[in-house]
């Protein structure tokens, strides 16, 4: 076909046009499909990983643990394919907190990076993070701190108790040995009481142990046999713990046999139906979410039975102890009785002795008086000396007998007194034991009924943050390519229109020769199709490989995932290439159609030149009259070729806007961290306090912070994360903060309007009784997403289900998370809850070292009543990491925008020149120098570039604001301001491209043959 030959030659003849069309389409397709597929690719890569590592679908946890039979029940729950129990405890390696897990069998399999899995006790696999943190390698030995030796306070008091009771027993033994008389039975029984007491104490201890979960392992020293990643932790976040610094640094897996526990800490489920589902799809997320919800009652039941079991066990133990105590009481009572009897006997004996004594003294008296009587009868022949002696002897003997008896009684009395004392001790001990039993009973009665959680993967930090990050890329892909396509399509339209116009005469000739519409238009459509299709395919190939990999590599620093996988996404391929081909070919068809409608005769006649027109500027005589003709022509031209003017302006504006958005994204993302953590908040760490901490414990914590030399300032505040606020949306990252002393709080958080330096104070005394409406400050993002303005009233359900009504007093600057600031006393008044400050915010001195800070935080976390410690630095680092990955995307956008700007400008300038070849040639013939001729074009280009720039800068600003609101999540507000530097850079880049293109144009103009001016108008 001659016409095809003609079409192919057309390509050859207009290489520049063809290539610029091709490049435009290539860029647009690469950009769109590249960014579009990044998010699915990222998700697919993760999904494959989860599938291979058998990441759990549902995680069941209970504060009380699960029993073996629970696992069986869960396994047979409908829809569950496989359930596996897992044991886990948090321990420390020096100051580093690690989560120690039992090796999984079929769920959450480890992804070995090095070495092998542990095969016997004493071996472990470690987190690759630990390799970075401690520089460990396979073959090294790690030692975990044994909590039994580690928690010194507890251990000390335990051994003291042991020592005491041992001493008691020894004392008892001595008494036992001393005892020779008939009272020994009683004392033996006393001893039994003491033993009972000990037992009671021990049993109560055992009860508490069960509740707190034994953390002991069989080994604390392990040889590293492998290094692995866990699908449970794809992000670097390892969670928080009540141990050590409060932040878990890594995980370790040890053989299950290391755990001699009768309970599981968690049960992991893999569901039947999810086997054919991809992670992160809405199908999967909906199903697991619903499944988790449906399982809640069941899980509550498990916890209830676990509670009953623990409660009954504790109660049984206590009842046993109570019985023993009762026995002891009986024994003591009996002993008391026996002592009383003995006392009575002794008393009787004493009376007898006393009788004997008095008889004896009577006898002695008798003897004395007899002796006297005889001695007064002097000379009496008969002095019964012998008889007297005998009597005396008898009396002495008796006396001795009585003395012996007395001594024996005294001894008995003493023994009785000792026994009494012992019984008294026993009674005291029993009283103590009774107290303890009462306490234990109270503990049992108050025993935590336990809570169960049925968590789908969406509760897994790594899983979720990866999803959000992947979707962030998707959001970028939704907005940017649209602008990109628009600009590219406009440029193509201009090109194609121009091409068809160029070929007017030819079209006329073909028509005159009898060619039909379709035959003629096929040339232009074919041309456009070839350019767009080739460009689209090339763009598809490198865009789909380069962009996702670039983005993924950027994210890789934060996620432990295997190599990137590109998933075929024909829909996106078809869509992006299809749209491009359609747009370009469509414009070709449309523009050729217009010309084809005309009659051949009209077509073959030169097109009537477009009439010149006066422009408004001419009415301002003093300006117009001063202009040179070339300027006048330029201005008139600008308004004369309106289509070209707007094409160029929109093209340039689009590119400038893209650049502004790209650079502005960078600005906004990067500044947000400094803005939040330098300008808005001024504290370095916060320590959360247990909800049931006692006043004395809080005071102790306060004192410890107060006394620390590295703390510059601290303050206690009340914070709550509402369980329900603002409709269906999960109020993620929304916190309520109530402060007693605003002035003090202002040292930690600068509350102000954005872009204004004034301070906004928290309203005080706005509510005084229960249910009253409280006035509070809302942070900007929170107000934004809920459409709140000053004076609006919202109801918020606090975590304890109290519903409070809050009026928006003002809206203040904030970037990360959402806060509602209010007065403590006001909140206290309306909730009638007797609120207690539950968070300490701390600012360290400038010269505090990391070590000092870690030490302090470790001690703080170890305090009774403290719950978790968070250092702002780690939060900042996390944000910074996550943003640095977004920056790669921003970089891609900037480069793409720059390339687009260049191609569009080049294309438009080329068209501008080719449209005006005749005019330019005429000028040359008239004797205009090359420079003057180029300037003639430049002036127009400059004006168009400037107008485009201006539009672009403004549009970019608005585009950025809009983009930001789609890209940022519910708990982050990015900056909305573009720095002057970025504006200048965007403008400079565009102007630079424009200049560069103009330089190229200069050479094209130089090459214009003056003979062109002699040709007829085509």
């Amino acid at each position: 076909m001659v016409i095809i030959t003609d079409a192919l030659r057309a390509i050859q003849k207009s290489r520049k046009r063809f290539i610029s069309l091709l490049l435009l389409v290539m860029l647009a397709v690469a950009f769109l499909s590249g960014l579009r597929t990044t998010s699915p690719d990222m998700k697919y890569t993760a999904s494959k990983y989860y599938e291979e590592q058998k990441l759990m679908d549902i995680r069941l946890i209970s504060t009380l643990g699960f029993m073996e039979e629970d696992l069986e029940k869960v396994s047979s729950y409908e829809g569950v394919l496989w359930a596996e129990g897992s044991r886990q405890t948090d321990l420390q390696i020096d100051n580093l907190v690690v989560s120690v897990f039992s090796m999984p069998e079929k769920v959450n399999l480890l992804y070995l990076k090095e070495g092998r899995l542990p095969s016997k006790n004493g071996e472990c696999v470690i987190d690759s993070l630990l390799v970075d943190d401690l520089g460990l390698k396979v073959g090294d030995v790690i030692t975990l701190n044994d909590p039994d030796n580690d928690e010194e306070e507890d251990t000390d008091s335990d051994s003291d108790k042991d020592a005491d009771s041992k001493k008691d027993t020894e004392d008892d033994d001595e008494i036992l040995e001393d005892e020779i008389t008939d009272n020994d039975d009683e004392i033996l029984e006393d001893d039994e009481i003491a033993e009972d007491d000990d037992e009671i104490v021990e049993e109560i201890d055992v009860d508490t142990d069960i509740e707190l979960a034994s953390t002991s392992l069989n080994d604390y020293t392990y040889t590293i046999v492998g290094i692995a990643d866990s699908p449970l932790y794809v992000s670097v976040d390892r969670g928080t713990s009540s141990v050590g610094t409060g932040t878990i640094s890594a995980f370790i897996y040890v053989p299950e046999s290391e755990f001699d526990w009768d309970y599981y800490t968690a049960i992991y489920l893999i569901l039947d139906k999810t086997q054919d589902m991809e992670a992160y799809t809405s199908e999967y997320e909906d199903y697991t979410k619903d499944f988790a919800k449906s399982m809640e009652d069941f899980a509550d039941g498990l916890v209830k039975s676990r509670y009953d079991y623990l409660h009954d066990k504790a109660q049984d133990n206590l009842d046993e102890a109570k019985d023993k105590l009762k026995d002891a009481q009986d024994d003591i009572d009996e002993a008391q009785k026996e002592i009383d009897d003995a006392q009575k006997e002794v008393d009787d004996n004493q009376a007898q002795i006393d009788d004997a004594n008095s008889q004896l003294s009577d006898a002695r008296k008798e003897l004395e008086s007899a002796k006297e009587a005889y001695s007064s009868m002097i000379g009496s022949a008969y002095y019964p000396q012998a008889q007297f002696d005998e009597m005396q002897n008898e009396i002495d003997e008796k006396q001795a007998e009585i003395d012996d008896a007395q001594e024996e009684i005294d001894k008995a009395q003493k023994e009785i007194d000792d026994a009494k004392e012992e019984v008294e001790d026993g009674k005291l001990e029993i009283a103590d034991a009774q107290d303890k039993i009462d306490d234990a009973q109270k503990d049992i009665d108050d025993m935590d009924t336990g809570k169960s959680y049925v968590l789908s993967r969406s509760a897994n930090t790594g899983y979720m943050s990866y999803k959000q990050d992947a979707e962030k890329m998707g959001d970028l892909a939704n907005v940017f390519p649209v602008i990109f396509y628009l600009v590219a399509a406009l440029s193509c339209l201009t090109s194609m229109t121009r091409m068809v116009e160029d070929h007017r005469g030819e079209i006329g000739a073909l028509k005159a020769l009898g060619y039909g519409y379709s035959m003629i238009s096929i040339k232009y459509i074919g041309y456009a199709f070839l350019a767009s299709f080739t460009g689209g395919i090339i763009g598809l190939i490198w865009g789909n490989i380069l962009l996702p990999i670039l983005c993924f590599e950027a994210w890789k620093g934060q996620y432990t995932l295997p190599d990137f996988q590109i998933v075929l996404q024909p829909k996106i391929y078809l869509f992006s290439v299809g749209i491009a081909v359609l747009a370009v070919t469509g414009t070709a068809y449309l523009s050729s159609r217009v010309e084809l409608q005309a009659r051949p005769a009209t077509l073959m006649r030169p097109r009537a030149p477009k009439a010149g027109k006066r422009v408004f500027l001419e009415k301002i005589g003093f300006i117009w009259n001063r202009l040179k003709f070339t300027s006048k022509v330029s201005y008139r031209n600008l308004f004369r070729y309106k289509q070209r003017f707007w094409m160029t302006v929109i093209g340039i504006a689009g590119c400038t806007a893209l650049l502004v958005v790209g650079l502005g994204l960078y600005d906004s993302l990067y500044t947000v961290i400094d803005k939040q953590f330098v300008d808005v908040t001024h504290y370095d760490a916060y320590l959360d306090v247990d909800s049931d901490a006692e006043d004395s414990q809080i005071e102790a914590i306060d004192k410890m912070i107060e006394d620390s030399t590295i703390v510059a300032d601290h303050m206690a505040i009340f914070t709550d994360s509402p369980s329900y606020a603002f409709g269906e949306d999960n109020p993620i990252g929304t916190y309520l903060i109530a402060v007693k002393d605003y002035d003090a709080f202002a040292n930690f958080v600068s509350i102000a309007h954005r872009n204004e330096s004034d301070k906004v104070t928290i309203p005080k005394g706005t509510a005084d009784k229960a249910g009253a409406r409280l006035k509070a400050l809302f942070t900007e993002k929170l107000a934004d997403i809920n459409g709140l303005k000053k004076g609006d009233v919202v109801e918020i359900t606090m975590s304890d289900d109290t519903v409070i009504s809050i009026e928006v007093a003002d809206i203040v600057e904030n970037y990360v998370y959402n806060y509602i600031y209010m007065d403590f006393d006001d909140l206290d008044a309306i909730t009638e809850d007797n609120l207690q400050n539950n968070r300490f915010i701390i600012r360290y001195t400038d010269n505090a070292t990391d070590k000092q800070i870690d030490d302090l935080s470790s001690s703080l976390v170890a305090m009774d009543g403290s719950s978790s410690y968070t250092r702002i630095n780690s939060v900042v680092d996390r944000f910074r990491d996550s943003l640095s990955a977004v920056n790669v995307a921003v970089g891609i956008i900037i480069v793409a925008a720059a390339a687009l700007a260049f191609i569009v400008l080049y294309n438009l300038t080329n068209i501008n020149i080719s449209e005006r070849v005749r005019e330019l040639a005429t000028l040359k013939v008239l004797g205009f120098t090359d420079k003057e001729t180029t300037n003639y074009i430049y002036r127009e280009n400059t004006v168009m570039t400037l107008v485009g720039l201006l539009f672009g800068l403004v549009a970019g600003k608005y585009l950025l604001v809009w983009l930001m609101s789609t890209v940022e999540n519910n708990y982050m507000m990015f900056g909305r301001s573009v720095s002057l530097r970025s504006y200048l850079l965007a403008a400079g880049l565009t102007a630079g491209f424009s200049l560069f293109v103009n330089i190229i144009a200069h050479f094209s103009i130089q090459k214009i043959d003056m003979v062109e001016s002699l040709k007829s108008v085509e």
Partner: protein, 235 residues
């Protein structure tokens, strides 16, 4: 002949179309006198446009010499050629080549503003009889009027040579005659050297000198001591 105002001496212009050199002008020799009306005539492809290009400073010759007013134009470089076009040549195109966005007056001024000693634009338009349409845009003018503007634009520069390329080619008979009349008057009354290039040999009698170009050579040079008035020529 040596003192002629314009001299073409053995001028050759060779184009290399692929491997075959084509001589568009192959040793053209002729002279044109100052203040005279000269017509260069020849059939299509004879090389008259190439002659015009070289004379107008739009192209350079391969060999030979071109002298205008005792200046060796054939030795000019790019810049000098531009200045030559600027100051010495007034060009009238077949298709007028007016700047569509400038009014008649402005189109004239456009050329005038780059000259050293231009004629007043209104005066130039008056000369071509268009003083009543000075503020009209080209699109508002008829073809003849547009060509008159083009002539006004050319003469406003006070050029040494008024070079006209088929000035009536796009015009009807009557209008064409009017234009030729103006050109003839330029030579007769203003003393401008007018060179008209045409394929229409019918108008030859109106010229002082007719140069016939054929096969790249000045085939025949006719002198007309008494040129006919254009009104008297019919074709």
């Amino acid at each position: 002949m040596d003192n002629s105002y314009i001299r073409f001496e053995n001028v050759v212009k060779q184009y290399n179309m692929g491997e075959v050199p084509i001589k568009a002008v192959d040793g053209a020799d002729f002279t044109i006198d100052k203040g005279k009306f000269t017509i260069i005539v020849g059939p299509s492809g004879a090389g008259k446009t190439t002659v015009l290009n070289m004379l107008g400073g739009m192209d350079v010759c391969t060999s030979g010499t071109i002298v205008v007013d005792d200046v060796l134009v054939s030795d000019f470089n790019r810049r000098q050629l531009t200045m030559y076009r600027r100051y010495d040549i007034g060009f009238v195109f077949q298709f007028y080549n007016l700047i569509q966005n400038l009014t008649a007056k402005e189109n004239v001024e456009l050329a005038a503003q780059i000259c050293k000693d231009p004629m007043d634009a209104l005066e130039a338009l008056d000369i071509v009889g268009l003083s009543h349409r000075v503020n009209n845009f080209p699109a508002q003018l008829s073809g003849g009027e547009q060509q008159r503007v083009a002539i006004a634009r050319a003469i406003a520069k006070n050029p040494k040579i008024l070079l006209c390329d088929e000035p009536t080619g796009a015009l009807d008979y009557v209008t064409g005659k009017q234009i030729l009349k103006i050109l003839q008057d330029m030579a007769r009354k203003k003393g401008i050297t007018v060179v008209v290039i045409t394929h229409n040999s019918a108008i030859c009698p109106m010229a002082d000198r007719v140069i016939h170009i054929r096969n790249g050579k000045a085939d025949k040079i006719d002198e007309n001591p008494h040129p006919t008035d254009i009104e008297d020529i019919e074709w």
